[in-house]
Symmetry: C2
């Protein structure tokens, strides 16, 4: 078993680096400013030379400062100096039956081929996950289980796991009991069961635009019409538009990824969440909330969820450990409020109980208090990677390309010159063994033709730099 | 980790016991006949005293002979002396929308409560499963996997596992390649995806009667009407009835458990399977075949499947390891013929990929050639248990109760006097901490009011004898 690389975040150098970062953000230190020498920093802060060096190295890895040979360290990166944000998506103003394109198959056909540098995979790199400790958890539960985890688990899920999920909910202001939670085979099963529970074929359901294509596929499989709500890359869906769209399209339900929407990385401000919940509660419209990325925040605190403000049991909260801990374990859950009994019945009809062994292993891992520590490392790593990737995009992509500034999660959304077709770009990139997710698959109407999504789940490397450089060239040479 | 109890089936005593069993079956030895003394048997067969004793002990544990104190061994059991078979189910002659009763919830609410002697659980006892070797397989794959099995598996499933499933199919006369197989989260997911792929809401689908209630629930969730086909406790569905029912009810698809139907334990003769496949092929009607119990046969050879005779790709074969190896691992599959692409799409919409770790563990276990040996032990144990339970039912239940003679699987179906309501019996039994599955939940119309199902998955014990005795008393005292 391999140990994962553990970045100690409680070290002195991180603290020093963070204070310098604040100065850069507040523009006390500006791009191009020379920083103190390592020796001077060490003296000024009363820290060792090695700690001072580590602080600079850390800031450099984040793309915030750069070392110039024989000269010293300089401020390099400022949010203000990167590319523009993509625009808020345009309303399409229609409720359309979903027909998911064969494009998705084309993009995901060779997902696991090793030769491909895959920017389209939606999961953090395995080296960012606590493999050794999860393996130990598996062995521990195998040893302790009277049945070696071969028995059928309760349909609602392992009770210890549900207790841990309930405890975790405290972080977003929730206070569910274990009895309010239903464990599922990942978030997609949770979403599918929730959609099935609250809609009937032909109903219109509101979603973000752009949105993760798996969500369209869930809609398609249930015969629903979708209404794509314009979505801002920073603040999420346009609530005023939604309010008018509800009566206009007779919207029966909503499904939103409010925290770090995939692909935009937007985060709906908590006050908007409250307004959204109140607006829907008045009309008795249920809201499915996909919070799969909620724990992967880069700010000081975890954003709240819509469930936090739910008084009527109308919010069906869905999430999983697939993006934060163990993709292949297939453990998700829903906290479906007043729809619990219906969803339990549906689960019995579709997959019955969820995997006994991996449920027990995750419960064991969480009950040892290891999840919080792991999440701190993961957030730090993803934040650093996001900055590094954004910097590279700014350096390597054509000047008119815009890029998002995700506040969490692990996806970047690139808006290119209108003449570039992202699906063609995807085909060309694939010839260079590079995988991207073209914008067309993030809309039911094939919108976002000149956009694409890349994931920064993989730690920075020269192979990635080379890949982004090739992508930039393909865009520049596009005809 | 615990080692499982391994019954060596290649021992001399088993061979001797089997020859005696044949004599009993052929009525050369009749009930009440005295057997040779242990010493005489030892001499006659040229075996040791201990082998002779073991042979008698083995036959005794099967309920075939009994030891009378100071007298010797006597033939006890003969199939002819047990109860009558239940009748072939009556046709209901209608296509009805499914509405699954709250009864199911009532029966399965406390499935895992330890104090309950649960005859309603549909799985073999954990002590019949190769726990230690499966645990080793888990550890092996964790050690060997570059990602510790944390990555998302291919949506179609682990390729090594699919190869093993393809190899296993040889036993029923199939020759699929790994590319024809889709791995699912247990058989219920496979059935649900297949039903979704070949029907639309409102369609009529033919099923057995009685049938496993989870199958009704799948139908209900897809908005289908079911046509219950009369089913013989030995030979399965009435093909003549089905042939007439197809045009009459405009049947669009069939779903049958041909091998050891749950609850009847019936096995459709292979020539009937061929006739069924040919009949449906002419009309281009797809057949979903649930072969989850197929490996648990008590006869000399594995029964064929309908897929064996499928030339047009119209048979969607479904099965799993849940009843034969590892219930909690949630690994099933489908070999869906011409519907493969459609089912892959649906799987992506509903649960995406299946658990990476348990897929790899099962693949490892199978590729070590351990499955066949385990199955031989399991079949032997279940066969012995079936005979023991049938004997006890004959001894302890009222004289007018009929019982099935399963040829595989692990369920018995009891038909009681018409005045006894099985759901009431279930309620009364529960007060004595005994769980049974009342007949009403095996029909969409609440038929089979005077029937119930018990599982003989648990090895014989005095607790089980006591439980069956209590059940018998409740039936005798029923008012």
């Amino acid at each position: 078993m391999r140990e994962t690389l553990e970045i100690r975040t409680d070290h002195k150098y991180v603290e020093v680096a963070e204070r310098i970062e604040t100065l850069i953000e507040k523009k006390v230190l500006k791009v191009g400013d020379k920083l103190l020498s390592v020796r001077a920093l060490s003296k000024e802060q009363g820290i060792s030379l090695s700690t001072a060096f580590q602080a600079y190295y850390f800031l450099e890895s984040k793309g915030l400062i750069e070392a110039r040979p024989q000269s010293g360290y300089y401020v390099k990166f400022s949010r203000e100096y990167t590319r523009d944000l993509p625009k808020t998506s345009e309303p399409f103003d229609d409720a359309t039956p979903v027909s998911v394109d064969d494009m998705i198959n084309s993009v995901y056909v060779d997902l696991n081929a090793e030769k491909i540098l895959n920017f389209s995979t939606g999961a953090p790199a395995v080296e960012l996950l606590p493999t050794a400790k999860l393996n130990k958890a598996v062995m521990h539960v195998l040893r302790d289980s009277k049945t070696s985890c071969l028995h059928y688990e309760h349909i609602q899920g392992n009770v210890l796991l549900r207790k841990q999920i309930a405890r975790q909910a405290f972080n977003w202001g929730g206070a569910p009991s274990e009895d309010d939670i239903i464990v599922t085979a990942g978030t997609v099963e949770a979403l599918s069961l929730c959609v099935k529970a609250i809609t009937k074929p032909g109903d219109a359901i509101a979603i973000e635009s752009p949105t993760y294509f798996a969500i369209f596929q869930v809609m398609e499989s249930h015969g629903l019409k979708v209404v794509e709500i314009p979505t801002n890359p920073l603040t999420g869906i346009d609530l005023d538009y939604l309010e008018k769209a509800i009566p206009r399209f007779d919207i029966k339900a909503c499904l939103f990824v409010n925290n770090f929407n995939n692909p935009l990385g937007s985060c709906m401000p908590d006050e908007n969440k409250k307004r959204l919940v109140d607006m829907l509660a008045k009309k008795e419209i249920p809201l499915i909330e996909d919070d799969i990325y909620g724990e992967l925040y880069f700010g000081k605190t975890r954003p709240k969820t819509c469930k936090t403000y739910d008084k009527k049991g109308l919010v069906l909260h869905c999430a999983s450990f697939s993006k934060s801990l163990a993709p292949g374990y297939r453990i998700g859950w829903t906290i479906p409020g007043r729809f619990k009994e219906k969803i339990l019945r549906l689960k019995r009809m579709h997959t019955v109980s969820t995997n006994t062994l991996t449920q027990a292993a995750v419960a064991n891992f969480l009950s040892n208090g290891r999840f919080e520590l792991h999440l701190r490392h993961l957030r730090k790593a993803l934040h650093t990677q996001s900055l590094r990737y954004i910097q590279a995009v700014s350096d390597l992509f054509p000047e008119d390309a815009c890029v998002t500034r995700p506040q969490g999660g692990f996806t970047l959304w690139i808006e290119m010159n209108a003449k570039i077709n992202a699906f063609k770009l995807h085909k060309r990139a694939l010839k260079h063994n590079i995988g991207i997710a073209p914008g067309q698959i993030f809309s039911s109407q094939g919108k976002f033709e000149n956009c694409f999504r890349i994931s920064y789940g993989q730690p920075w490397s020269s192979r990635i730099e080379q890949g982004l450089s090739t992508l930039g060239k393909l865009m520049k040479d596009y005809k």
